[in-house]
């Protein structure tokens, strides 16, 4: 679905993309992570035909993003990091405008608008002005608008920014459902837990280049290794000693009362480890077996924020 090769994009002396290559197969839900300025938004903008690369090629379903931009736009739904909506339009008017902008004609137009209103749960607010909607509802409206023309690829740049936890859960559910319908997705996000929850693959990007890949983070709980982050109350020395001496456990990192370990054997061994720690009198206040992506991110980009 996405075939980007050796993409280069410069902004003055800055190389936002420096020979990036990325392939996404149809039906995949791929997460894009990296520090600020890594080139994630630039990559998504190139794929959405907003920005032209200085070198390299990118194609969506075989259509070049520069040479066949119109064909690409018909296939792609793009959601920017700050989704802008016309605040002085009614919800239905806004959807009708974009239906026209995507040249939906005849019975397709009202069907698409009504379908989008229903999908976004905004059917009863169709005549409400956009400015009167909450942030969560605006996000839903923007997604509905993005899906209006039936795109086969969704490019989402920080879709969960500013959403409250409930809205984030709802967003994850929606994205999973859309992916289940066969829509391919590339999602850039700093919220690793969200990506870990829904993505089939996560790509790390730094300095405009691919910095690594992590296949199926959600599935990393399966046999192999599982990274767990443990936090204990008070003195962590006892817990540290127990963990070091335990077979099948490797201490990856220790910072104060937080210990990151890699447990071979998967979720069952992790559960046994937690049971033994508690039985040994360690006051475990957090045992997070899904810190895998965070750990990989830390390994890829270092522990300090950029």
């Amino acid at each position: 679905m996405i075939d980007a090769r050796d993409l280069v994009k410069r902004y003055g002396p800055l190389r936002a993309l420096d020979g990036l290559t990325l392939t996404v197969e149809p039906g995949e839900l791929v997460g894009l992570v990296g520090p600020n300025g890594a080139g994630k938004s630039t990559l998504i903008k190139i794929l959405a035909t907003l920005v032209q690369p200085d070198a390299g090629t990118a194609a969506i379903d075989g259509f070049d993003v520069v040479g066949a931009a119109g064909r690409v736009r018909a296939l792609v739904g793009y959601m920017p990091d700050v989704p802008g909506l016309y605040q002085d339009m009614r919800v239905r008017e806004l959807l009708e405008f974009f239906a026209d902008a995507f040249r939906l004609r005849g019975p397709r137009r009202p069907a698409a608008v009504d379908g989008a209103l229903t999908r976004a749960g905004l059917a009863d607010r169709a005549e409400t002005f956009v400015e009167a909607l909450s942030l969560g509802l605006k996000q839903r409206l923007f997604i509905a608008k993005t899906l209006l023309h039936g795109p086969r690829l969704l490019l989402l740049d920080e879709p969960a920014t500013g959403l409250d936890p409930l809205a984030r859960i709802e967003l994850r559910r929606l994205l999973r459902a859309l992916n289940g319908e066969g829509i391919t997705m590339l999602i850039s996000s700093h919220i690793l837990a969200d990506l870990e929850d829904i993505c089939s693959r996560v790509t790390f990007i730094a300095g405009g280049r691919l910095a690594g890949e992590s296949a199926a983070p959600a599935a990393s709980a399966a046999p192999g290794s599982l990274t767990c982050e443990i936090e204990v109350l008070g003195d962590a020395t006892r817990a540290g000693t127990l963990l070091r001496e335990r077979a099948g456990v490797r201490v990856v990192e220790r910072t104060g009362d937080r210990i990151a370990v890699e447990v071979t054997g998967g979720a069952e061994d992790a559960a046994a480890l937690l049971r033994d720690l508690v039985a040994a009198g360690c006051a475990v206040v957090r045992f997070d077996p899904r810190g895998g992506l965070e750990e990989r991110y830390r390994r890829a980009f270092g522990g300090t924020p950029r």
Binding site: K45, T49, G70, Y86, D88, D100, R103, H149
Partner: protein, 265 residues
């Protein structure tokens, strides 16, 4: 119909200024007529000379068309120079650029909406202009020429404002530069004409080409075709041609800029 035009007109007519501006516009035009009429008829009393109806009609007509153009030049940047920058400021430009609308569709939608509003103002001023018919000296020909000249000037100035709107990221910058551009169009030809006239003052008659130096002045474009002799047709057409070229250039640059505008979206 271009969906941009429908959207723009709908949004524009929802603004408070949509009805406020025509009201103010008509009040100012009405005031111009009253002040001019009072002044002209008061002069008659002082010198005991009857003012010919046709002279009064032509005077009021000129005052109204000048006032009309001044008001439109004041209003045009508000709509045209903010047209694209508002999309950048509200972060809605990306939505347009990733739709199937072409850069030309977006440009035309924005320009047409700005021009339609100015046409509404022009149309609302027609009854005031038609008042002058009652005095004589002004016929439908003059009204048609004045309206055509005003329309050409406003289309070009709006196209230029729209170009600045494509170029800048902030409405305040685009609007300021558009006003500066209008002032330059008005003042520079006037200064050039004055200097050239002074240079060739020794000549017994003013060379015809001197008039062409005033071609870029919007007020000259409006008035040179009115009540004029045959020799003024050339400068009038030259003026309209100048604004035509300005329109086409601004349009081409704007469409190119919109096509490349994704980096600021």
């Amino acid at each position: 119909m271009n969906p941009m035009i429908r959207k723009e007109v709908r949004q524009r007519m929802r603004e408070r200024r949509a009805w406020l501006l025509p009201t103010l516009y008509l009040l100012v035009l009405g005031a111009v007529v009253i002040v001019f009429y009072m002044t002209a008829t008061a002069r008659r009393g002082a010198f005991e000379v009857a003012v010919q109806g046709s002279v009064l009609g032509q005077g009021i007509f000129l005052a109204v068309v000048y006032a009309q153009l001044s008001l439109l030049l004041l209003v045009a940047p508000v709509f045209s120079a903010g047209a694209l920058t508002i999309e950048k400021e509200q972060r809605t430009l990306a939505g347009l650029l990733t739709s199937l609308l072409t850069p030309a569709d977006i440009w035309w939608g924005k320009l047409a909406a700005a021009l339609l509003y100015q046409a509404l103002l022009l149309a609302s001023g027609l009854p005031v202009l038609a008042l002058t018919l009652a005095f004589g000296g002004v016929g439908p020909r003059e009204i048609a020429i004045a309206l055509a000249s005003t329309a050409v000037v406003m289309a070009s100035v709006s196209a230029a404002g729209l170009y600045f709107s494509c170029f800048f990221r902030r409405s305040v910058h685009a609007t300021s530069v558009t006003y500066a551009f209008i002032v330059a169009l008005t003042v520079v030809p006037l200064v050039a004409y004055t200097m050239l006239t002074a240079t060739v003052a020794r000549n017994p008659s003013e060379p015809a080409w001197l008039l062409y130096s005033m071609a870029p002045n919007p007020f000259y474009a409006l008035s040179v075709g009115l009540f004029g002799a045959a020799e003024r047709v050339g400068p009038w057409l030259a003026s309209l041609a100048f604004f035509g070229v300005l329109f086409v250039t601004a349009a081409a640059l704007s469409v190119r800029n919109i096509a490349r505008g994704g980096e600021h979206a």
